[in-house]
């Protein structure tokens, strides 16, 4: 590079630096806007990839880690006939069913349960209290409670494996019975039918929601039902292992007669849907937040340029007798109008885009009517935020200098 060329280059650099430095706030805003737009693009790529991974994980976890094993209905009907003629009650699940299930690779927990009164509710009340409520009663093993992953406030769940008259109360059932929920519910009893049960703890939610249940030891429930024909084995596997476990679990439990059992995979569609909705919503919210901040910066930058260009006008207004607040209000108002109009237009454009994309992909478009209020509100707020600095800047302009002719 010749000396002349290098000199010109230095002069150019000098000019650029001087001009950018002369309007530092504007320069900073433009730089920030470019940074945000670039960041938004990269972030959208990254966040979409992450969200997709999360959704895939949710799918796997929600659909493929719970298996139930029940008695094959065909088998029970033939055994019922035998019982009716005086034969011994059928026992479909071996005594070591839980151990056999948990010995299967990828099984994390397993346990038996049986609904007393075949899923009807049972009258339950506090001793001495004539008022009773109807509560579904479930007999369950500690393994079932573990597999169900219910939130428990009890350290004595192991008592479910005994024949003692103890009960774990669901939190909503406890509330109906006016039994205070505490880690140590000593002294509280309930009456299920004619029998008193000692409350040993409380349970809530879980993969199968037990909040409304009364859970008693599995053995007592089977005795009450006189058979385990309606029992169910709940098996929780490692995420995504439901299908392979379902293929071998019956043989593991009843290698002699696996056909006496039937298994199915538990799919919690509600949780899956909620999970996907949440993750997609978070993804969209982050992208939207980026874009809104970017918009704010762009508006602010444009308004700062406007303030500079209208310095003489601002000085004139002040000379005519307008107060600082009155002149500032013009810029607040411009920002608000820009934001509102942009928000309304954006809502319309967004709605059209949703319908167009849905139509192109043969999806069913889903539009929230509140969007048409959120859009203008968000736009107006963005416009106001963007106006804050320019409007404040206006108040600092000296009218005496602003109206001077050079």
């Amino acid at each position: 590079m010749s000396r002349t060329q290098s000199s010109r280059a230095v002069d150019l650099i000098d000019d650029v630096v001087v001009e950018l430095s002369a309007r530092r706030s504007r320069t900073a805003l433009i730089v920030a806007a470019v940074a945000l737009s670039t960041g938004a693009l990269l972030a959208s790529l990254g966040i979409s990839s992450t969200a997709a991974q999360q959704i895939a994980s949710s799918l796997a976890a929600s659909t493929l880690d719970l298996v139930t094993v029940e008695v094959n209905p065909v088998e029970t009907s033939s055994d019922d006939a035998q019982t009716a003629t005086g034969g011994a009650p059928a026992s479909y699940f071996p005594a070591d069913t839980q151990a056999r299930a948990e010995s299967v690779t990828l099984v994390e927990a397993a346990g038996l349960s049986i609904a007393v009164d075949r899923n009807e509710t049972t009258a339950v009340r506090r001793p001495g209290d004539p008022q009773e409520i109807q509560v579904p009663v479930l007999g369950a093993t500690p393994g079932f409670m573990n597999a169900n992953e219910a939130a428990q406030q009890s350290t004595t769940t192991w008592l479910l494996e005994t024949d003692q008259h103890v009960v774990l109360l669901g939190t909503s059932a406890a509330a109906e019975l006016s039994i205070p929920i505490s880690p140590n519910p000593t002294g509280h009893q309930i009456q299920i039918g004619p029998t008193l049960y000692q409350v040993i703890g409380f349970i809530d939610s879980g993969r199968i929601d037990l909040g409304a249940y009364a859970v008693i030891p599995y053995g007592l429930a089977v005795d009450a039902m006189r058979s385990d024909a309606s029992s169910s084995l709940l098996v929780r596997t490692a995420p995504g292992a439901g299908a392979p476990v379902a293929g071998v679990i019956r043989t593991a439990i009843r290698p002699d007669q696996p056909e006496r059992l039937a298994n199915s995979q538990v799919t919690n569609l509600s949780a899956l849907r909620q999970g996907v909705d949440t993750q997609l919503g978070q993804f969209a919210a982050w992208i939207g937040a980026f874009l809104l901040v970017l918009t704010c910066l762009l508006i602010a930058n444009s308004m700062i340029v406007s303030v500079v260009a209208r310095t003489a006008e601002i000085g004139l207004r002040r000379a005519l007798g307008a107060s600082r607040a009155a002149v500032s209000a013009v810029f607040w108002g411009e920002g608000l109008v820009i934001g509102l109009v942009g928000g309304i237009t954006g809502s319309a454009v967004g709605a059209v885009a949703v319908v167009a994309v849905s139509t192109a992909n043969q999806w069913t478009a889903h539009l929230d009517p509140w969007t048409f209020l959120y859009g203008p509100a968000l736009g107006g707020l963005t416009g106001l935020l963007a106006s804050a600095y320019p409007a404040w800047n206006v108040t600092r302009i000296s009218p005496a200098l602003a109206v001077r002719s050079d």
Binding site: L316, A319, L320, G321, A322, S398, A400, V403, S405
Partner: protein, 235 residues
């Protein structure tokens, strides 16, 4: 030395006493030193001086666009030295009109809208504005240009719009900073004719200028030299 120069027999509409203005630059610059000035209603006063003599500074202080560093300034009998910024702004809106060398007519607004800007600031009822605008346009001879955009006006027409805007709220004092600086002789004469008519109507005219013709035109002329007012027209 006292710089009090007053025409007898009329109440002063503005009075400056020992006004000094120093700008806090490095080093500090004193634009006005010990200025005493009394102006009476209906007077045509010209303040002349070279560039940098402090003319614009004096106009800004008189126009309440700036504050003096020391001294006292009374406008229409009110001491502005102790006023809040809001009170000074209000007083400026009610009592003063401005005409600048650059007319500052907004090009994207019509003539009527430019004049209406002042009426909006003084919160004149909207239904009264059309009539007042029509009246001042007639006084400056621009009734036929009422709906013309500012950017389509000639230089002389713009200055007349600026005058109309300045007087539409009937101010006590019209302050003009080089009003003919950008105009040719014919337009300059037209502007002075308008000023004459205003003065006859009781409006005080204070013109800052380096144009000696205006100094000759005025009832009284003062010279600013190095921030100090001296008596008489420059030779």
């Amino acid at each position: 030395m006292s710089n009090v120069l007053a025409a007898p027999g009329q109440p002063p509409v503005l009075h400056l006493s020992e006004v000094t203005k120093t700008y806090p630059t490095r080093p500090p610059v004193t634009a006005l030193t010990g200025v005493d000035l009394t102006v009476h209603a209906g007077e045509r006063l010209a303040i002349v001086g070279r560039s940098g003599s402090g003319k614009s500074t004096l106009l800004n202080i008189v126009g309440l666009l700036d504050e003096c560093t020391s001294g006292r300034y009374e406008l229409a009998g009110q001491d502005t030295s102790t006023m809040s910024a809001t009170a000074r702004t209000h007083l400026r809106a009610q009592r003063l009109g401005f005409v600048f060398q650059d007319s500052h007519v907004l090009g994207h607004r019509t003539v009527a809208e430019n004049i209406g800007l002042k009426l909006a600031i003084t919160r004149t009822p909207r239904r009264a504005r059309a009539g007042q605008i029509a009246e001042v346009l007639a006084r400056v001879g621009l009734s036929h240009r009422r709906d013309a955009l500012g950017r389509l006006l000639s230089g002389g027409e713009r200055q007349r719009v600026a005058i109309a805007r300045a007087i539409v709220s009937d101010p006590d004092i019209l302050l003009a900073d080089e009003p003919t600086g950008n105009l040719d002789a014919d337009n300059s004469a037209a502007v002075l004719e308008i000023f004459d008519a205003l003065a006859r109507g009781g409006t005080t005219i204070v013109v800052i200028t380096h144009d000696l013709r205006i100094a000759q035109w005025a009832d009284r002329a003062l010279t600013l030299d190095g921030g100090r007012l001296v008596e008489g027209r420059p030779s």
